[in-house]
Symmetry: C2
Subunit: 206 residues, 2 copies
């Protein structure tokens, strides 16, 4: 994305761009695009407006960068679940279960991509387009995992990976919204476990 960024670097950058981006991501995630002001960002990033506009190009571009980072982190998290799990379906089930037990230390928030999609309804918005795109890519990835389960014989050949992926994404989305609504509760964990069990019930003993 930002290749050839530091030509000679005669002076150490006093702030860490990735750290700043993370702070922006967290703030945007919590408050949303429209409710977050430049003042809020200045405080969170410990940067003056001029620096923000030098590093990122506009509030919208900063949001898009934050969203991209968020998507990357989500992807990485899913992949770590795949690496740890014994099989594709187990990975999907574990991933789902993880959303049933949000970090007790901090407030839970619904998926930032979904939030982005919901509060930028207009077609002309670049953020709405990006959100749609990320959701599509996520969908494709989940579909791929179901297909992999099919290839391994874990999932019936007659199953529809595309449909299963869509249903899976809906479950994750709903679960994360519920997490924001009620926080860390037993009932949330029960819902997550129930959904995860439904995924594992798809397994056919070969």
């Amino acid at each position: 994305m930002n290749a050839a960024y530091i030509p000679i670097m005669q002076r150490a950058r006093p702030y860490d761009r990735n750290l700043a981006l993370d702070a922006a991501m967290t703030l945007f995630w919590r408050k949303g695009y429209h409710a977050t002001s430049l003042k809020d960002l200045e405080q969170a990033l410990h940067m003056k407006p001029g620096s923000i506009y030098a590093a990122f190009q506009s509030k919208e571009a900063l949001y898009l960068a934050a969203l991209e980072r968020y998507f990357g982190l989500t992807q990485a998290s899913l992949e770590s679940f795949i690496a740890k799990a014994a099989s594709p379906l187990s990975a999907l089930a574990d991933f789902l279960r993880s959303f049933g037990r949000p970090d007790p230390g901090q407030a839970a928030y619904a998926c930032m991509i979904v939030k982005s999609m919901l509060d930028t309804s207009e077609q002309d918005s670049m953020i709405a387009r990006a959100a749609h795109d990320y959701l599509d890519r996520m969908n494709t990835e989940i579909t791929g995992i179901f297909r992999e389960a099919q290839r391994l014989g874990e999932l019936s050949a007659s199953a529809d990976p595309d449909h299963l992926a869509r249903r899976y994404m809906l479950n994750v989305t709903a679960l994360r919204i519920e997490a924001q609504r009620v926080g860390l509760t037993d009932e949330l964990a029960a819902l997550a476990d129930e959904m995860a069990d439904e995924i594992e019930a798809l397994r056919q003993t070969a």
Copy 2:
């Protein structure tokens, strides 16, 4: 809500308050609270700022009124499904199915209450509190319908109405978000029908 509103009414109100409220609801629903400006509202309601502030008290109060109206309409819709359906579970299944086939004439939007909750994260916001309250009330209502199904012997006595209601709400929420994402598609209808079938699968033949 607004009882004793017109003491003597010496002059006919040139705009219809309910019509204006509907217009505000639609606009807020589409754009969200923060992205909707007074200018937008003036245009949509055909009212000047002074009139808006005379009729409703502030942008926030107008939003709260619009949200209350939205909640009322949703409740009424659910009750009409109950009235038409042969049983509580059928009503819930039909209600779910209805979200799979959004009006082809216009764009579909996710539930306004959920959207409200998601883009007013702060605790101190009156809108966030109202949204949480409406979701709780909706949950209670669904729970009541499941309980009614139990009373009628349609649903097993060992079922957990509270848990079923939460899961049901999650399905509706997710389905409506998907409707906003993809619009009117066969796959959306398939997802809705599948969820509806799951509700009807709870029926025990007495």
